[in-house]
Structure formats: structure tokens, C-alpha cells
């Protein structure tokens, strides 16, 4: 394997792939910040920079290395060099594993450069743990709702004749987006995982209120979370970050609470609404931006390893242009499918052709959910602490299991198709 690694590494190095990627990274850091405009706030500026600059570098790296991977085996086969390699006492697995290691090494160098340039700018906010309400999965509530709908005598024939799995799918979507209404004087209690109450200071609630009719309705309320509390007086129709202060004079050491609750009391005169599964998060301090960048870069590297393995697999079976085309289409479809599902919820009156699109999107999301789970750019931009557990999971799935499966197939194909022509 060392030989095929060294060969691919030299090809990437002497073919100026690494140089070009490093130059593009430097150019992105030099020029993109001048092109994009933030919303004027510090946090908005940071988020936009991180999404655009390191995000673009990551995207370019994914596409460029995927295209390189698509060419490596196919080009070797088409130029008959693969035949010269496989007649030696070398396993086909090593023939495809070496190039993967070389591509990952190139990605590691570029990502390290990217991380270094990003951190060198300085002034980034520390990362924060993000906790969402500890609610039962929407499927549970949706199933219960479905039973009630089917048991009700008022249910229309159209609904009854609809397949139950489709009804369930619609109800799950609605449950995930369900609004809780908090009337004047009323309270909303949301349970959070115990770790959320583990911080001794710097607890922040990120929340997004909606009002039913009046977009400018004033908001007034009190929020408490264990020993912390804050007054809520503003509604900008966007996410608010409300820092909680210690309500007890003696100490705000973390309380031992099994299920801490975030309580909001509406002291205003208007009804306010929020979606418990989407609009509320408790943020607690985690660690430095630099460490978060390291973990996010590790996740990026794992995803790139998977993409390169996918490219090498395609390259072993298809010609170079067909492999590149197939890979880019697959990448685009994988990126688009979740957006299709979130933008087009299923409804009863959805035309059949649209439903086919939804089924396909669901299929793509299902098939790629394991390898597409890491969202390093988004986490980095929002300051969300990237958990080591998630990095480990990405390593296992994206950098070990999935690539090994793909490379095993590629090795099998290489053994059978080493000769380019008959």
C-alpha cells in the first residue's frame, strides 16, 4: 500500500493539485471577506465569515478531491498502468487504498492551512454546548394523533382512504413544527437534559417567538432555568439570545436536577407562540474556538475521506468523465434532498408527481443519513460545540466503515477490470 500511496501523493503533488488547493484557500481568505456583507452585528459577521470562507474552502475541497478520486483508477486503467500494477504480487485492495490515503493526506494539509488562517484572524467567540428540549420524538405524538383521527366519527372519507403511513408522515411533519401558544399570564415549561444545567455561569437561551397576527406585538415575559432567570422584553421576530443571570445571591453552582425545566411566563398582553422542537435552545459555555475548529476540521476530513472512497469506487467501474459526472450528480442530489423535504412538507392534496419527488428525496436522505450526518461548517458558524463523540462517529462511519465497504467493491472491480481493452 505504501507504494500506491506514494505514487498517488506524488501525482497530486507534481500535478500541482495540492498547490492549487492551497492557493485557492489563501485567495478565499484574502478576497471573500471583502465580497460578502454581514448583517452588521459581531455574531452575524462571524457566522457569515465562517459559513462563506472556511465553508467555501471545504466545498471546493470536496468537489476537487472527489473529481481527482474519480480520475485516479480510471486513468490508470485507461493508460494500461493499472494492468502493470496488478500483475505484481500486490492486492487490489492496496491498489485503491493507497490513493485514498494520498487524497486524505492532501485534504488534511489544506484543512490544516484553512484552520490556521481562520484562527489567525482571531476574535472568534468560544464554542457553546447546545441543548434542545428533551421531548418525546414527534413519531410518538403523531401515532397518538393518528389513532384519535381514525377513531373520530368526524374524520372525512378522504382521510380514511389515505394510506396510514402517509397520514403518519404528514402528522410527524406537523408535530415537528407544532406551535405552543402562551396566553397572557400563562407559562410554558420545557424539560431539558440534565447536562444543560451543569454550567456554573454563562447560560444563554436562544429562542424565537412568533405572534399570531401582529408582527410588531410587544413581548414581555420572565424566563427561568433552575437558579438562573432573565426578563424578556423584546421581540425582533428572529432568534434572540437571552443571557440568564443568577437569581440566588449565594451561589450559582450547578444544581442537581434530573430534568431541569426552562420556564417562560408571558407577562405581556398578547399571545406568543413558539415551536418547542425548533425555536428553543439552551446554550452553555464549552471550549475555545480553536479547539472547535480542530474538531470541525476532523469531521470535514472524515466526510472527504468518504467522498474520495466513493470517487475511487466509481473510478474503478466507470470511465473518468462518466465517474466524475455521476459523482457530482450524486453529491448535488445528496445536498438537495434534505432541503426538498424541509421546503415541501407532505400534504393530503399533494399531486402524485410531487409525491414521487418526495419519496425519492426521502430515499436519498435515508440512504445517506449515516454518512451525511456531520455538519461541521454549520456547527462552526453557529458556535455549536462539535462533540468528540460526533467526531468519533464520523471517523467510524465516514472514514472507516463506508470507505472500506466501497473500496472492497472497488478492489473486486479492479481485479476483474484491470485490463482497459480486450
Amino acid at each position: 500500500m505504501a507504494e500506491s500511496f506514494l505514487l498517488a501523493w506524488r501525482a497530486l503533488l507534481r500535478g500541482h493539485v495540492l498547490t492549487a488547493l492551497l492557493a485557492l484557500t489563501a485567495l478565499a481568505h484574502l478576497f471573500l471577506p471583502a465580497v460578502v456583507r454581514s448583517d452588521g452585528t459581531d455574531s452575524g459577521g462571524s457566522e457569515l465569515f465562517l459559513r462563506v470562507v472556511p465553508g467555501s474552502v471545504y466545498m471546493v475541497l470536496c468537489v476537487a478531491l472527489l473529481a481527482c478520486a474519480c480520475g485516479l483508477v480510471a486513468r490508470a486503467r485507461e493508460s494500461h498502468r493499472l494492468a502493470l500494477t496488478v500483475v505484481r504480487p500486490v492486492s487490489a485492495g492496496a491498489v485503491v487504498l493507497g490513493p485514498l490515503m494520498a487524497l486524505v493526506a492532501v485534504a488534511a494539509v489544506v484543512l490544516a492551512f484553512n484552520a490556521g488562517l481562520t484562527c489567525a484572524r482571531g476574535g472568534w467567540p468560544d464554542s457553546r454546548h447546545v441543548y434542545v428540549p428533551d421531548l418525546e420524538p414527534p413519531e410518538v405524538a403523531a401515532r397518538q394523533m393518528l389513532q384519535e383521527i381514525l377513531a373520530s366519527t368526524n374524520t372525512s372519507e378522504e382521510v380514511r382512504s389515505t394510506p396510514q403511513h402517509r397520514l403518519l408522515s404528514i402528522l410527524i411533519g406537523r408535530e415537528a413544527d407544532r406551535y405552543e401558544i402562551i396566553r397572557p399570564g400563562g407559562t410554558l415549561e420545557l424539560p431539558f437534559p440534565a447536562e444543560a444545567a451543569g454550567a456554573s455561569n454563562g447560560v444563554v437561551v436562544r429562542i424565537h417567538f412568533s405572534t399570531r397576527f401582529n408582527l410588531r406585538a410587544s413581548l414581555s415575559g420572565e424566563m427561568s432555568f433552575g437558579k438562573w432567570s432573565a426578563a424578556v422584553t423584546n421581540n425582533t421576530q428572529s432568534f434572540l439570545e437571552i443571557p440568564l443571570a443568577c437569581a440566588v445571591a449565594t451561589s450559582c453552582d450547578p444544581p442537581v436536577v434530573e430534568t431541569p425545566k426552562l420556564v417562560f411566563r408571558n407577562t405581556g398582553r398578547s399571545e406568543v407562540m413558539l415551536r418547542p422542537r425548533r425555536d428553543v435552545e439552551v446554550l452553555t459555555p464549552a471550549d475555545s474556538f480553536g479547539m472547535n475548529m480542530v474538531r470541525a476540521s476532523c469531521e470535514m476530513l472524515c466526510v472527504i475521506a468518504f467522498l474520495c472512497a466513493f470517487g475511487l469506487f466509481l473510478s474503478s467501474a466507470l470511465s473518468r468523465p462518466v465517474a466524475i459526472f455521476t459523482a457530482l450528480v450524486a453529491l448535488t442530489v445528496t445536498e438537495m434532498a434534505p432541503a426538498v423535504l424541509s421546503q415541501c412538507p407532505e400534504t393530503l392534496d399533494l399531486p402524485f408527481t410531487d409525491r414521487i419527488g418526495l419519496w425519492l428525496s426521502r430515499g436519498v436522505v435515508f440512504a445517506t443519513s449515516a454518512v451525511a450526518a456531520p455538519e461541521p461548517v454549520s456547527d462552526l458558524a453557529t458556535g455549536t460545540y462539535v462533540k468528540w463523540a460526533d467526531v468519533g462517529r464520523a471517523f467510524l462511519v465516514d472514514a472507516v466503515v463506508a470507505p472500506l465497504a466501497l473500496l472492497s467493491l472497488a478492489a473486486f472491480i479492479v481485479r476483474r477490470r484491470a485490463s482497459a481493452s480486450r
Binding site: 507504494e3 501525482a11 494500461h80 496488478v86 481485479r415
Partner: protein, 283 residues
């Protein structure tokens, strides 16, 4: 008698399209046996099945029927591949590698340890006359130089069986002579060589055995000397005989045996003459 290095029995290859319909029957039942130390020439016109046979021997194509054994093992067996060296028809080198790196790369693929690989690379670079350009990228090499690098790469693992596809293709006459000399030396050292060539003179010069393929079948096979020698005729070479003396001798022989006698003057092979001329010019 020792086990043959290559044993081919009833070998057939039919190429099929995507729907598994037969498209071409390239090899139609070949039986061959190559013994240790043989320099075996596989000859035939284009489309006779030479390349397909070589690819099957190398394990790059699976036969449709029949069997191939290399050292008593299937061609794809790792142990068989470890004893094999291959020089393809075109050199197919990685243009961004230097000559040294290319040979080291193939040494690594043949599982040679670092020290041995380094020593063997230096030895082969000297043997093919490329020491002075060892650290230049092979992408800038002439066809002949690239051929020498490819030959060195084929020899790097000290193979017991060397498969050469058009080994002198692209070489100048001196390079051709060197390669033929190298093949003879290797054969003397016990290396078995299976080669194909369209240059019949080269094949005749180095091959101890030949098989002529035509339309996927063996048209003729045997020891080169046995196949080419016409034992019913005789030819004499008398040094220092003048034209009129030779004519008189021919007449005498014709009269004595009652058969027509022809004579000619031997000529030096062009390859030898060329080498001598170039050698003289270089001083």
C-alpha cells in the same frame, strides 16, 4: 523432467457484449508448454490471439475455457505473480516519476525491502544505461529511454519468468542488440522468457522455441532451429574463395551429384554492421 513454467491446455477466449452475446472468438484452443530457461516466441499476424493469450497468462483476462498454470499455480495466485516480470508493448510509465522512482515503485510492488530495492534499482539503471538520467522525470524521455526504464522495472524483482510484449519496439539498433543480448544472458541464468514480436529477425535471433498463432490456433510450434533448418539442403562457407574459384567448385559439385548448385557471398547482418559503424564513428 521438471514442471513447465507455463502450461496452457485447451485455452479459449470468447469476448462477449453486454448481453453476453459472443462478439469475437480470439483464442480457439491453444496448447503450449514453456520449460525453464526457454526463450519462447509467440508469433502471429494482427488478430491472431497473441495479446489475448499474454493477458490470460498474466491473469488480466479470465479464459472462457481451458487452463493456464504458471509454476503449477493459477495466473492470479500471488505466489505466481511474485515470480513474474512483465514488459508491455508500450512502456506506460508514470510521466511525473523519475527513472529511479519508477524502478523503486515497481520494486516496492514486488515486496522488495528498501535496501534491496535501492541496490537493485542502481544496478538496473547501470545495466540499461540510464544512470546519468536516473533523476529526470520519465515524461521527458525518448521512446527508447522509456523502453529501457520499463525493461528495468520488469526485471527489478529478479523474475523467474519474464513476459515481453514487443521488447525491442521503439529501440534503436544498438538498443535492440543490447536487449537481445540481455535476453540471452537472462536465459543463460535460467530465466524463462515468453515474448511476442512482429520483428521476425529479432525473434529468430533470440528465441529457442517459437509458436506461430493464426486465427486463435497454433499453426506451428517447436524449437526454432528444428522449424527453420532445412536438413535436406546444405550450405558451405569457404573463406577467401575468389569468384571464379567458387563458380568452378559449384560446377564440379553439380557435375558430381547431378543436382543444381547455387552459391552466393555471405553478408554481414545489418545490425552488426550498424553497431560497428557507430562504434567506429564514436572512436
Amino acid at each position: 523432467m521438471s514442471e513447465p513454467v507455463i502450461e496452457i491446455v485447451g485455452l479459449r477466449k470468447t469476448f462477449r457484449d453486454f448481453w453476453m452475446r459472443p462478439v469475437a472468438e480470439a483464442v480457439r484452443g491453444i496448447d503450449l508448454s514453456v520449460e525453464r530457461g526457454d526463450v519462447f516466441g509467440l508469433l502471429g499476424p494482427n488478430g491472431s490471439g497473441k495479446s489475448t493469450t499474454i493477458k490470460m497468462v498474466l491473469g488480466l483476462l479470465a479464459p472462457s475455457g481451458g487452463t493456464i498454470r504458471l509454476f503449477g499455480q493459477p495466473p492470479r495466485a500471488r505466489a505466481a505473480r511474485a515470480r513474474l516480470g512483465y514488459l508491455p508493448e508500450l512502456s506506460y510509465l508514470h510521466p511525473f516519476l523519475t527513472a529511479r522512482e519508477t524502478i523503486r515503485y515497481y520494486a516496492g510492488l514486488s515486496s522488495l525491502d528498501r535496501r534491496t530495492a535501492r541496490a537493485r534499482t542502481a544496478e538496473l539503471l547501470a545495466r540499461v544505461g540510464l544512470e546519468s538520467v536516473a533523476d529526470r522525470a520519465v515524461g521527458g524521455f525518448s521512446k527508447g529511454m522509456a523502453r529501457r526504464v520499463a525493461l528495468a522495472a520488469a526485471l527489478v524483482s529478479n523474475p523467474e519468468l519474464l513476459i515481453l510484449d514487443e521488447p525491442t519496439s521503439g529501440l534503436d539498433p544498438i538498443g535492440t542488440r543490447d536487449v537481445k543480448e540481455l535476453i540471452r544472458t537472462l536465459a543463460k541464468d535460467g530465466v524463462t522468457v515468453l515474448m511476442t514480436s512482429h520483428l521476425l529477425a529479432d525473434t529468430e535471433d533470440v528465441c529457442t522455441k517459437i509458436a506461430i498463432l493464426s486465427q486463435g490456433r497454433v499453426a506451428a510450434c517447436g524449437r526454432t532451429a528444428d522449424l527453420l533448418t532445412r536438413t535436406q539442403d546444405a550450405r558451405f562457407t569457404v573463406e577467401g574463395l575468389a569468384e571464379d574459384e567458387a563458380r568452378a567448385l559449384a560446377d564440379e559439385l553439380s557435375r558430381r551429384y547431378g543436382k543444381p548448385v547455387a552459391f552466393d557471398h555471405p553478408s554481414v547482418p545489418l545490425e552488426k554492421f550498424f553497431a560497428e559503424a557507430v562504434g567506429a564513428a564514436r572512436g
